[in-house]
Amino acid sequence: MAKVTVASDWLAGCAGCHMSLLDMDERLVAILEHASLHATPITDLKHPPEEGVTVGILEGCVNNSAGEEVARRMRARCKVLVALGDCAVFGGVPTMRNAACRQAALKRAYLETESTAEGRIPSDPELAVMQDARPLNQVVDVDVYLPGCPPSADAIFHVLAELAAGRKPVLTGKLLDWH
């Protein structure tokens, strides 16, 4: 049986969900017997292959034009899209920014932080354009939701194992945890 191809990427998040993925420890080996990892932010290949993968995993929410692009590209290149972690599923911590206006957020981040001296708000036209922070499903269609901050290694293993076996994962009991 051909291995299930997997790619992952991250948007506005903290990388904690990918750390939790690594927390699967030796179970990663078991997963890799059934799946092949193609591109992830923590391996050499960064972009999902053009020919596509079976499972795409995205961590973090969408909060700028670059994130939106990454999300759309992953959606276009995978059959099953997994929203990994609270930010991807619910919006998460970055959505706190929405309550303040964008200019106020930029001002606070680039001019007013206690460690900043003579700061300025970046304005290079090549930079991504700031947007309201949104959960992934407000930008692209999502097939599997895996909430948690971060989701436990057990929950990630359960989801990947179910996907590798060709089933749609269902989270119950301790595996479903939002905090």
Binding site: A83, D86, T95, L176, D177, H179
Partner: protein, 612 residues
């Protein structure tokens, strides 16, 4: 209830019976079937606004809320049919999407087994892994942090109105309400003022019933969920009401206090009992201190007690005053120490008031809660026994006839059906003046009106204060037998002290022994003497002025008993562990008595409790 009066109903195919007037939710619960609900609270009247408890009832055209729908004979209910579960999940999704219910920022959040949030618990139970509707994160819901002890985060509010109902039905304060309609609906105080500026009395009942993290207490928020904390039933020692509480502790710290729904106070507490007990305290005294060269110096128990024993012997007149917050055991040891060791009768309480306790049958808090006539004479429960005051206001809401007799105006007066001055009830009907008054001014005396009101009522209760004239007490004794009496005692255990013969006095001697426990009396001036010993848990101006300071246990650390205003002897068990160098009061007095050559007859706490 006879079998025939019961209604036959079927829930999820299981035949059972229900009492007429029960709701579907109550009947299901009695049959062991749990129907999930959010706005429902067992101690509040049902509201039916969250739509989570919708169930399928045969012959009804749509799903019905189980929390408000009364049972009828032959009723067939489905609580877990696909239609019901689908609808319940949708109700939850609507609630989740309405405001900011992202759990990670929330103080009430936890895992499936230990969350303090009822919404999150239902979300977990129903396998909700994403919000089905777009979220409302960008909208500013507002946080009202104008109250001293707790905060309202409107973003977490699900508009279940439990707080509104608790404020109205339990605390009888009617501060909270709802303003606007539809998606603009908000919980508000009075006519929309900040909570801190409203008529709120900070009893915290709303906080106790809030199902989510919308109402959070400043001192306990983010300090741990039920997984990390321990909940112990205990007794509040804030005043003579001695409310039943649940103390929430973690790592030998008191985090939070909740009212015990099953106790006489019925979940109610006042701001003192719920919030002030968990506020930061002055520095704790952990070691005995002796004044040397004008400065208090920490020392060991042996040195301190030897020194103290020698000094006390120097003075022929040693007087002792104790706080009424101490247990029977501490007070008994104190009294015994003065009688047996110092052979002095100059011993009493720092403050406290106990009216005569022999007017008639003792009432309970439950009697006040269900009274149909409440007579308050010479006291102000809203000030000194707050929870009793709230129960009186609740009585007013439930149409109890309230009569206030006082020379001064009290906050309960506006609720009274009639008010009298104390003078009105101090004249005997036989007195010639009274007869003149009745004859010529056609005025019925206060006492006959009281008598009449008490006779008319089925469950009359009299709340009476201390320091009234003997004729007033005599008039009260003449009230009908069905009247229950509740003394408005000031001082937590002043009743227990009274049983030991200790009452508030202005004793002064050349040497003073002041036993405070964790009390810090603000209105009482410190007695002056040549030599002063203060036993206290916390540093205060009193300890700073003392010649010898002995560490003492706090209310939450001591073991013993107290007598409350209902006359109940309530056992007190330690909630927290005292620092190792802090000993119980009776232990200290025992060791001191041995050093002074008159070992007291009490050996252990069990002996003292037994001797009482």
């Amino acid at each position: 209830m006879s079998e025939s009066a019961l209604l036959k109903i079927t829930i999820n195919g299981k035949a059972t019976t229900a009492r007429p007037g029960q709701t579907v939710l109550e009947a299901a619960e009695a049959a062991g079937i749990k129907i999930p609900a959010l706005c429902h609270h067992p101690h509040l009247k049902p509201e039916g606004c969250c739509r989570v408890c919708l169930v399928e009832i045969e012959k009804q055209r749509s799903l019905m809320p189980a929390c408000t729908f009364p049972v009828f004979d032959g009723m067939v209910v489905q609580t877990e049919s696909p239609k019901v579960v689908e609808s319940r999940k949708n109700s939850l999704q609507l609630i989740f999407s309405e405001r900011q219910h992202y759990c990670m920022f929330c103080a009430a959040s936890g895992d499936a087994e230990h969350t303090d949030c009822e919404l999150q618990r239902l979300g977990y139970q129903h396998g909700i892994d994403v919000w089905a509707y777009p979220t409302n994160y960008a909208r500013q819901w507002g946080v009202d942090a104008t109250r001293r002890f707790f905060v309202m985060d409107h973003a977490r509010c699900i508009l279940c109105r439990r707080c509104v109902r608790a404020c109205e039905q339990v605390a009888a304060n009617h501060t909270l309400g709802v303003q606007q309609r539809g998606p603009r609906t908000m919980i508000c105080a009075d006519d929309g003022v900040p909570f801190g500026e409203s008529s709120c009395v900070s009893c915290g009942t709303c906080l106790q019933v809030c199902p989510t993290g919308a109402l959070i207490e400043r001192s306990s928020a983010y300090m741990g969920t039920s997984a990390d904390t321990r909940r112990t039933a205990a007794t509040c020692m804030g005043c003579a009401v001695a409310c039943g509480i649940h103390a929430i502790t973690r790592d030998n710290h008191l985090l939070k206090v909740e009212g015990d729904w099953e106790a006489g106070n019925g979940g109610l507490l006042c701001s003192k009992g719920r919030f002030e007990v968990v506020q930061p305290k002055p520095r704790r005294i952990v070691k005995p201190m002796v004044r040397e060269g004008g400065r208090l110096v920490e020392t060991g128990w042996d040195t301190a007690l030897s020194y103290l024993g020698a000094r006390l012997k120097e003075y022929p007149h040693v007087a002792g005053l104790a706080s009424p917050r101490l247990t029977n055991e501490s007070l008994a040891a104190f009294a015994c120490f003065f009688q047996e060791v110092l052979e002095s009768s100059e011993v009493g309480l720092l403050y406290g008031q106990v009216p005569p306790l022999d007017l008639g049958e003792f009432g309970t808090l439950a009697d006040v809660a269900r009274a149909d006539c409440i007579i308050i004479i010479g006291g102000d429960p809203l000030e000194d026994q707050k929870v009793v005051g709230y129960l009186v206001k609740r009585g007013f809401d439930n149409d109890a006839k309230l009569i206030v007799v006082n020379d001064e105006s009290t906050p309960l007066e506006p609720y009274a059906r009639s008010t009298f001055d104390l003078e009105d009830i101090s004249h005997h009907v036989q007195s010639p003046f009274e007869r003149l008054r009745t004859t010529y001014h056609l005025r019925v005396s206060g006492i006959s009106q009281l008598k009449h009101a008490a006779e008319e009522a089925r469950r009359p209760v009299v709340l009476y204060g201390a320091g009234l004239s003997t004729t007033v007490y005599a008039a009260l004794r003449a009230l009908p037998d069905k009247v229950k009496f509740l003394p408005l005692i000031k001082g937590t255990n002043a009743a227990g002290a009274a049983r030991l013969g200790l009452e508030a006095q202005n004793h002064c001697g050349e040497a003073m022994f002041l036993m405070l426990g964790d009390d810090m009396p603000e209105d009482v001036p410190m007695p002056k003497a040549q030599f002063t010993v203060v036993a206290a848990a916390y540093e205060s101006p009193w300890t700073a002025a003392a010649d010898v300071v002995l560490p003492a246990q706090t209310w939450a650390e001591q073991r013993g008993h107290l007598v409350n205003m209902e006359g109940r002897n309530i056992p007190i068990s330690p909630l927290l562990e005292a620092p190792k160098t802090v000993l119980p009061d009776y232990e200290v007095l025992m060791r001191l008595s041995v050093r002074m050559g008159h070992a007291m007859s009490y050996q252990e706490i069990a002996d003292i409790s037994m001797a009482l």
